[in-house]
Symmetry: C2
Subunit: 380 residues, 2 copies
């Protein structure tokens, strides 16, 4: 099988990730932070090690300001619901995933004010539109770093400058870019960074996180046992405990640590560069096929990851199914949990066939994909 | 090492659990419910299979009313916060874990009314006290099935009868009993059942769930991508999607499925019976050691799991540390995230040394524990 669905979850993972998960379950299977015995301490150290690797990866000064969550969706819910109160205004864009849109639409029912800034047909955002949307009650800007539908990159540095100028909080969703485009929270002046563990960071499913900058105080989504201040019937305020109630996904976090170590190896940069070159080669090649419509920007500095196409007027689910059944190519058809983005690029009815490469995608894989698309397009 | 910390998380898991997690990551590593390709469908089927096993295990008619969560704490937060509104009254007990107490204390700040019904010094609850605590605005009763500190069993059948009589909702926390004491949600008339995946059900950490009976409608904690109704910017109302936003912990859930299959084998019942006999043997033996105080009920039908002791007036953390360092026995000392329970049994200052057996605990392990306790007590 040729796996072209890395925007949903990366696969395969590097072998070190599988080993780390297995090794944790077999040899460090205690509950971290709950007991004082040697194996519980070793499990706690595994968690700490991954927290420190994430800090290193995103240039975060204090690893304890990184909160482990079950996935980016939980991270975004914590960041959004933790900061907004009735009467607050929030600005977002039309390229967002439903993990941003749906919590915001929910909060709208309880009195927050919401502005969607419109991106162009290529998913490109003019940062001036953000500036113009600011009101006296604006508290938060939340944007994706890159579209999960067409891979268009949003200008997070410009947006963060605007946030700084107007003293707003900026939450960035890096579901599609974590592990692929370098992020420095200090340089980029990001207040909250929501990331998945199981996509570009190469960890297992069931992992994600939220970085919360100093000075930002969020209301927690959940309270419960934290292993700390066990004598108190109130949620402790110390980080990360305040936001990490209940037993963590220790094997998953150990696997995420191994994924990060793999990414931090010097030669992995070459693999990422190679993947991005393959993306451009694929994009250029399929653009030339008659009957194929490719969405989103073409310039390498304006796009990353997800490549969405349609073939004639054919239903995207049908094409995706054909690719799976006849060519053993795994893609995603229909809508990609981002209806406003599909509306922006005018594919709300047809959906798109999405191809997303991974670190282990080869040129042979890409050539087979090009050939498959060519063969399908020829018959239409 | 002799692992006596199964109340925190079970270890080791049966080998089939490790294999299932690894096999899922390597061979079924796609995102379930998100794409239509073969591996995504296979991942979806793994999730469904575990959901069906849980339904079978707790006699739940509709597997889609089982919600996967990250842990019992999240399940309890969803059950508690999803149902209570300002002005509602809720009844709970003094034997609860902080995963029940802390969300309730948090909600108290926003206008819910809270009654703690007091258990006796052995952690035994008189169900009449629940009945007497009912007010016109009572909406929910939430209790643990068994104490995580001393293993005392609460009378959930009697409480559920009271709930039925007064048309109240009953949420049961089976963190300590899932997989050990059979539960039938229909027979027991339980409206919500919060369970861990990683304790008695033998799955990996990072798994848990909440069963929601028909007719019970909860507000969700999180919104986001569900893979369903992708065209909508609002959270779908269908179950389980409404409560399962974001990518699930597929390898963890696959491992939980293997744990459940292990539990459903006919000969596993013998292992559970044997474990409970070992618990009683251990309890009886240490009760006879001079200087050792054992907490909680002694009758096999009134207790399960956690066995808490103290030796003289010595700090429980110190004893637990001694057991770890000198005898290679893993226990938990201090407070066990349940301050009201410690208050009830008068150990708020000293804490307790908690021993908790697992399916793979042997009589040789127990004898070594008895010997260690004897040796320590002798010197005091």
């Amino acid at each position: 099988m040729i796996y072209m669905d890395n925007a949903a979850t990366s696969w395969p993972k590097p072998p070190c990730v599988y080993r780390a998960v297995l090794d944790c379950m077999k040899n460090t299977g205690a509950n971290p932070g709950r007991s004082g015995h040697s194996m519980a301490i070793a499990a706690g150290n595994l968690i700490l090690h991954t927290r420190e690797l994430i800090a290193k990866f995103f240039s975060i000064d204090d690893p304890f300001r990184i909160i482990f969550t079950a996935n980016t969706t939980e991270s975004l819910n914590l960041g959004i619901k933790g900061i907004l109160k009735a009467g607050d205004h929030v600005i977002t864009t039309t390229m967002e995933h439903n993990s941003v849109v749906r919590p915001l639409k929910q909060l709208e029912c309880s009195g927050i004010e919401l502005t969607f800034v419109k991106c162009d047909e290529n998913g490109i955002l003019d940062p001036d539109l953000i500036k113009r949307a600011i009101k006296p009650n604006t508290k938060l800007i939340v944007t994706t770093h890159a579209s999960n539908v067409i891979g268009s990159i949003l200008p997070i540095e410009e947006i963060s400058k605007i946030a700084r100028e107007y003293e707003l909080i900026y939450l960035v969703d890096i579901a599609q870019t974590a592990g692929i485009i370098p992020i420095n929270v200090n340089k980029h002046n990001i207040h909250m960074l929501a990331f998945p563990g199981h996509k570009g960071l190469l960890g297992p499913q069931g992992t994600g996180g939220l970085y919360i900058a100093p000075g930002i105080e969020l209301m927690q989504l959940k309270e419960g046992g934290t292993g700390s201040l066990s004598e108190s019937i109130y949620q402790p305020y110390i980080l990360p405990d305040r936001y990490e109630s209940g037993t963590l996904n220790t094997p998953g976090i150990a696997g995420l640590g191994a994924g990060l170590e793999f990414l931090l190896r010097p030669d992995t940069t070459d693999m990422i560069d190679n993947m991005r070159k393959l993306e451009m080669y694929f994009l250029d090649s399929i653009t030339k096929i008659k009957g194929v419509k490719v969405y989103g920007p073409r310039e390498p500095n304006k796009r990353v990851g997800a490549i969405s196409i349609n073939i004639g007027n054919r239903d995207s689910a049908e094409i995706s199914n054909l690719l799976d059944q006849e060519y053993d190519i795994a893609t995603r058809g229909e809508l990609h949990c981002a209806p406003l983005a599909h509306d922006t690029i005018n594919t709300l009815n047809q959906g798109t066939v999405r191809f997303s490469l991974g670190l282990f995608t080869t040129i042979a894989d890409i050539n087979k994909c090009i050939e498959a698309i060519y063969n399908i397009a020829k018959k239409i």
